[in-house]
């Protein structure tokens, strides 16, 4: 491997260093833009006791839902969960812990984590169960909560195209949490649909600059649709 070349040859290589008990940040919203093959690699490795930070936890049999099958996840930090029966079961019998976090706060926690901001104040959640145990402060007559940033041992990200230097662009709303997770991983791994040569991507259109990215791996994707809605004939 030379210089800035981030491309690795296999998924196995992409996830080297992931160990039991680590924190993994995952991009994606619902099943859109999830790093589906990197999740499958974690399942294959059998890494356990993970804390996973992701807006959702996939569905039964797909996405992060598959990491529940062998009880690899100890704790989820998410804004909306429970689209899967297994999740509900493990939560109710105490095998799985969940920290529910408002969606915007979750996004900002990752953004802050990647940007070297240890905590920030937000009005979101004031006066709700989310505020329990958190410091508050008044600014301009309004109460705000102190929320701490999140960094991960690993960030797993789904991009559309990357060049060999790890500059990434995302496709449509598959962007969502991906660029935020990408900034906040000690090791950031991006799987993409296409790897292009240096200079092919317009520098002004890069969503995630390569400085945040440690490994790039090429994959093929199922891209399952969670709620298929189409226009009815008029």
């Amino acid at each position: 491997m030379a210089g800035f070349d981030k491309v690795v040859a296999s998924y196995e290589e992409a996830m080297i260093g992931l160990e039991d008990g680590m924190t993994v940040l995952a991009g994606g919203f619902g099943l859109c833009g999830i790093p589906e093959n990197l999740i499958a690699e974690i399942k294959r490795k059998g890494t356990k006791g993970l804390t996973v930070v992701s807006n959702n936890c996939g569905v039964d049999g797909f996405g992060l839902g598959i990491l529940l099958e062998d009880k690899q996840v100890r704790k989820m930090v998410s804004s909306y969960v429970g689209e899967n029966a297994l999740f509900e079961k493990q939560l109710l019998n105490g095998e799985l812990e969940v920290e529910l976090t408002p969606q915007g706060t979750l996004a900002e926690k990752m953004r802050a984590g990647g940007a070297g901001i240890p905590a920030f104040y937000t009005a979101t959640g004031v006066g709700t169960p989310v505020a329990e145990g958190k410091e508050t402060k008044e600014f301009n007559g309004r109460e705000y909560l102190l929320e701490e940033a999140i960094v991960g041992d690993f960030a797993i990200v789904k991009g559309w195209k990357a060049d060999r230097y790890g500059n990434v662009i995302y496709r449509h709303t598959a962007q969502n949490f991906n660029p935020l997770a990408a900034t906040a991983g000690k090791i950031t791994v991006v799987e993409v649909e296409e790897i292009v040569e240096i200079g092919e991507l317009d520098p002004a259109h890069i969503h995630t600059p390569g400085i945040y990215v440690d490994r790039v791996v090429l994959g093929t994707f199922e891209k399952r649709i969670e709620k298929r809605t189409v226009k009815t004939a008029e």
């Binding site: 959640g125 006066g127 891209k223 189409v230 226009k231």
Partner: protein, 219 residues
């Protein structure tokens, strides 16, 4: 007669203005998009990271990478933009969205809203609702006035865990349009054929009834 879901959406649509950026929640709020007046441009924000949400795709144009905050496959309108979830909530928290419409289980006279959690039932999470109610200046809550058992959902104090504190000023129920002012609901309009007495009976929180309460008008 109490309002239908479609009539509720129609009444909310009367609050739209040309050039508004609007975030619509799941359920009745989503239907508001069907009643945007023809002479008006409104852009819909979807909190996963889309400004300028269009209609559902066809079988030919459906795309797994193009969804809204309800995880439904959608399209974009001309002039749309797509961005990260942090950018999306910067718009929301920063007060840049002109109108937010969302549902609730309960609201109270202090503008508190409960919409995400019923104790002892499975808690799925708040999603973006807490950010939306904390960030928006202009929020309309759409809900039924009372439960099927006749229990009021317009209370002196919310009984369920809150989604946001002191952030609601406008409520549309199937019976009435109300605004929250100085610790009370103020009855502004009633659904066609619904009596003021029925609204009083089904409102548990303090209710101010002006001398004249007009019926809602539908085009």
């Amino acid at each position: 007669m109490s309002l239908t879901r479609e009539q509720m959406a129609q009444r909310v649509a009367q609050e739209l203005q040309d050039g508004f950026y609007v975030n619509l929640g799941i359920g009745i709020p989503t239907l508001v998009a069907n009643y945007v007046p023809n002479n008006m441009d409104v852009m819909l924000q979807s909190e996963n990271g889309l400004l300028g949400m269009g209609e559902f795709p066809t079988e030919e144009t459906i795309d797994a990478d193009m969804i809204n905050a309800g995880k439904q496959t959608v399209t974009t309108v001309k002039g749309a933009s797509i961005f990260s979830s942090a950018e999306s909530f910067a718009m929301i928290r920063g007060g840049h969205v002109d109108l937010t419409v969302l549902g609730a289980f309960e609201v109270d006279v202090n503008g508190n809203i409960a919409s995400w959690m019923i104790p002892n039932k499975l808690i799925k999470g708040m999603g973006g609702a807490m950010d939306l109610v904390a960030g928006a200046e202009n929020i309309i809550v759409t809900m039924t006035h009372a439960s099927k058992d006749g229990e009021s959902k317009l209370l002196s104090n919310c009984s369920l865990p809150l989604t946001g504190k002191g952030c609601i000023k406008k409520v549309l129920t199937d019976l009435a349009w109300l605004e929250i002012e100085d610790g009370a609901f103020v009855l502004k309009e009633r659904a066609p054929g619904v009596s003021v007495e029925e609204i009083i009976e089904k409102t548990q929180g303090k209710l101010i009834v002006p001398d004249h309460v007009p019926e809602m008008a539908f085009a």
